[in-house]
């Protein structure tokens, strides 16, 4: 009998305490931000404020869906300011009766000013520290202010948050668009690595991907446009799928033109001779012919398939060399993620100097192997 009462007592204690005596929350009173934008505060950007970097404040703009059925507007957009992101959440208590729950936001947009000036390493600290935040939040950079992106009116989606999340989530599987999560950002600021992020811009009345933002550790240092971004992704080894065009010329005249749906991968080898390091990057492209515009049949022109393969390989090789030159001379940062292969061989020796001019001094060779797996239903 005593044991039965003990059992009853245990169950009662558990039900009372674990079911929410202290952690009870009414879901109607919670504010779940669907997306957030982090920007340098407007006043902090003006030259006459003479603010030290550590005194600059940040703006936090959030899209918060209105859960209640009685509210006409599907969501509201709020901007608050603070010394840090965590601190910028605080003013919400003065103007919003709901309890703010930052952990569910799927997308974070960083304003270009913030990313390029103070950098993001310390800004994302609050996201990394909070146990309720998943490491799968999508990170992106806005040309201009992140707030402006969130405030662009949108008709075809419930909110801009849904649109951007759909645009960026697993974006590399749809096209040559890098996707960056909090986890990827954190792991890519380790020695020998640097993050990249998708870059968004407002074109007319629409938000579009404009390329990729290039970082040196936590600070944004450059942009790759839409032509450079596929090459950046191929060199970086981000497996993607996309369409690339080709033009084949013979004797100065156009012989054929078309496009190929491809997927990419890469292999990297590194060798050294004393202090001279040589990286050999092999980009492997595989795909199928999407279209070509001449009447030449593959059954009657056995060389045509090889000509297309060679042309694409040559185009990608040339563009890769151009990008590598720009990376070594202009960015001076390893944005194609190859230093890790040198670290994997000589970590102890290179650990402290791999992020200091290492990439500018190395020799990088590129080879592109293109294989056209099929040409579709037509001959």
């Amino acid at each position: 009998m005593a044991k039965k009462w003990l059992l009853v007592f245990i169950i009662v204690v558990q039900l009372i305490s674990l079911s929410g005596c202290w952690d009870y929350k009414d879901i109607d009173k919670l504010d779940f931000p669907a997306a957030g934008a982090y920007d340098l505060h407007q006043a902090s950007k003006t030259a006459d404020t003479n603010q030290e970097e550590e005194e600059q404040t940040v703006d936090l703009t959030t899209i918060i869906p209105n859960i209640s059925e009685n509210v006409k507007e599907p969501f509201r957009i709020e901007t608050t300011s603070g010394l840090t992101i965590g601190n910028a959440r605080e003013p919400k208590v003065y103007s919003d009766p709901g309890t703010y729950s930052p952990g569910v936001s799927g997308v974070i947009i960083f304003g270009e000013d913030l990313a390029a000036s103070t950098g993001l390493k310390n800004v994302v600290e609050s996201l990394s520290r909070a146990p309720q935040t998943p490491k799968t939040q999508e990170f992106t950079i806005a040309e201009g202010r992140g707030e402006s992106i969130l405030r662009v009116p949108i008709k075809d989606y419930p909110s801009m948050a849904d649109y951007i999340e759909g645009l960026l989530r697993q974006s590399h599987q749809r096209g040559f668009i890098p996707d960056a999560t909090l986890h990827e950002f954190k792991t890519n600021i380790a020695p020998g690595k640097n993050p990249i992020m998708p870059l968004l811009t407002i074109k007319g009345e629409k938000v579009e991907v404009a390329g990729a933002a290039i970082f040196k550790k936590g600070r944004m240092i450059g942009k790759a446009n839409l032509n450079e971004t596929p090459i950046l992704m191929m060199l970086r080894g981000i497996k993607s799928t996309g369409n690339i065009p080709f033009i084949i010329k013979k004797d100065g005249k156009m012989f054929d033109k078309g496009s190929v749906d491809i997927k990419n991968s890469r292999k990297v080898k590194v060798e050294r001779n004393g202090d001279d390091f040589t990286f050999q990057i092999t980009i492997i492209l595989e795909g199928s012919l999407a279209e070509h515009q001449t009447d030449k049949l593959f059954t009657k022109n056995e060389d045509l398939r090889k000509m297309i393969e060679d042309q694409i390989a040559a185009d990608v090789t040339e563009d890769s060399k151009k990008f590598i030159k720009k990376m070594q001379e202009e960015y001076q940062v390893d944005c194609i993620d190859i230093s890790k292969y040198a670290l994997a061989k000589w970590r102890k020796e290179l650990k402290d100097k791999v992020d200091e001019d290492f990439i500018g001094d190395v020799n990088i060779k590129v080879e592109v192997k293109m294989k056209l797996n099929n040409v579709g239903e037509l001959t």
Binding site: I10, S128, P131, P134, K135, T136, Q170, T187
Partner: protein, 368 residues
């Protein structure tokens, strides 16, 4: 054989009980703790670290073979006399309470951080210990069966933890192999050795195993399972998070679950913790039962009748000790001391017992 609280366990159940006592909350912080010493070679250090509990297992098994019918308390008193023997048993019980108070505190801190942020830690600890006491009163057979049941859940849970994030692995994170050098590997292995706490329960449970000739095999199997799970978790953490990130995380193994993007199961860490909260009581249960049994033997009282009271007493001790640390960092500082204490109990005790048995020769059998 008077040392049994009404039942015996099979060698198969012994496997589950050893794994159940070893694989506790340490696994969450293990990648950080080991990689701080062994860098990229942390996973190798984890495998090498298994030598420490294996030596302990071997020594305890040999000791048990010398005096197979004696329980831990009887054996200690037979070897060291009543006063010193009783003192050694009390030290063992104190160690078990100390060790388990740290386990339950870390478990409560994990629960508070991820699941119940506003619930006082005292309440969370109370619930864990209350459950422990309740199950403990059901006897060894129930504890052994529960360990077996929970073993399969924990195995599934840890396999998910290891396999799901593998898609994000970067193999360069663990290269070059062996660069940390022998010094780093040994320091890493020693640090890991502390994390294999739990094998010392064999001191108490040896005599309760039905087929004693299978104890070494069962113990080795249990250690192999624990080693594989530990090495797997550390390796995947290194591959996915990298050493730099790992060093900034209190519980890298939990953060690991927050990284993959899986449709529907977006918050894997909550699913994992949902199961882990139930499994977290296993070490408390096994250790507190072993301590209660030792105490009841020490006072030579009816085990069936008074064992629950000892469970309550030990639970109370655990509760008070678990509340003492100010925060998680103090708790981890104390966990280091518990690691040293493991060396004393897990290696020092059996060695000392062997020495004494050697010195006393045949007299031991007579006094037993």
């Amino acid at each position: 054989m008077q040392d049994k609280a009404g039942s015996l366990i099979s060698s198969k159940q012994l496997i589950f009980m050893i794994v159940g006592t070893q694989v506790a909350t340490e696994i969450f912080a293990l990648p950080r703790v080991v990689s701080a010493k062994a860098g990229e070679d942390a996973w190798i250090a984890v495998i090498l670290g298994a030598l420490v509990p294996f030596i302990s297992l071997f020594l305890i098994e040999r000791l048990g073979k010398r005096m197979p019918e004696m329980g831990f308390t009887q054996m200690t008193q037979a070897l060291f006399g009543k006063i010193i023997g009783s003192f050694l048993v009390v030290i063992f019980v104190a160690y078990a309470i100390f060790f388990e108070s740290i386990v339950v505190r870390i478990l409560a801190e994990v629960a508070r951080l991820y699941l119940l942020p506003k619930t006082p830690v005292a309440v969370i600890i109370f619930i864990f210990i209350f459950i422990t006491i309740y199950i403990g009163t059901k006897g060894l057979r129930v504890i052994a069966r529960l360990n077996e049941l929970l073993f399969y859940i924990i195995l599934l849970n840890l396999l998910l933890l290891i396999l799901i994030p593998l898609g994000m692995a970067d193999y360069t994170n663990i290269l070059p192999v062996g660069e940390v050098g022998l010094d780093g590997l040994v320091r890493g292995a020693l640090t890991t050795g502390f994390q294999y706490q739990g094998i010392e329960i064999l001191l108490v449970f040896y005599t309760l195993v039905t087929k004693k000739n299978e104890v070494l095999k069962a113990g080795t199997t249990a250690l192999a399972i624990t080693t594989l799970l530990y090495a797997g978790v550390v390796l995947v953490c290194e591959l996915v998070l990298g050493i730099t990130s790992i060093q900034k995380l209190i519980w890298p193994a939990l953060t690991l679950l927050k990284t993959p993007q899986i449709p529907v199961f977006e918050r894997l860490e909550f699913i994992f913790l949902f199961f882990w909260m139930g499994m977290g009581v296993r070490p408390l249960l096994n250790m507190s039962f072993a301590s209660s049994l030792s105490l009841s033997q020490l006072f030579k009282i009816d085990q069936k009748k008074y064992l629950p009271y000892f469970m309550i007493l030990i639970g109370l001790g655990m509760y008070i000790l678990a509340l003492l640390p100010h925060d998680i960092f103090v708790t981890y500082k104390l966990a280091d001391y518990a690691g040293y204490a493991f060396l004393v109990i897990g290696l020092g005790y059996p060695l000392l017992y062997h020495m004494m048995a050697f010195l006393r020769g045949k007299k031991v059998g007579e006094s037993g």
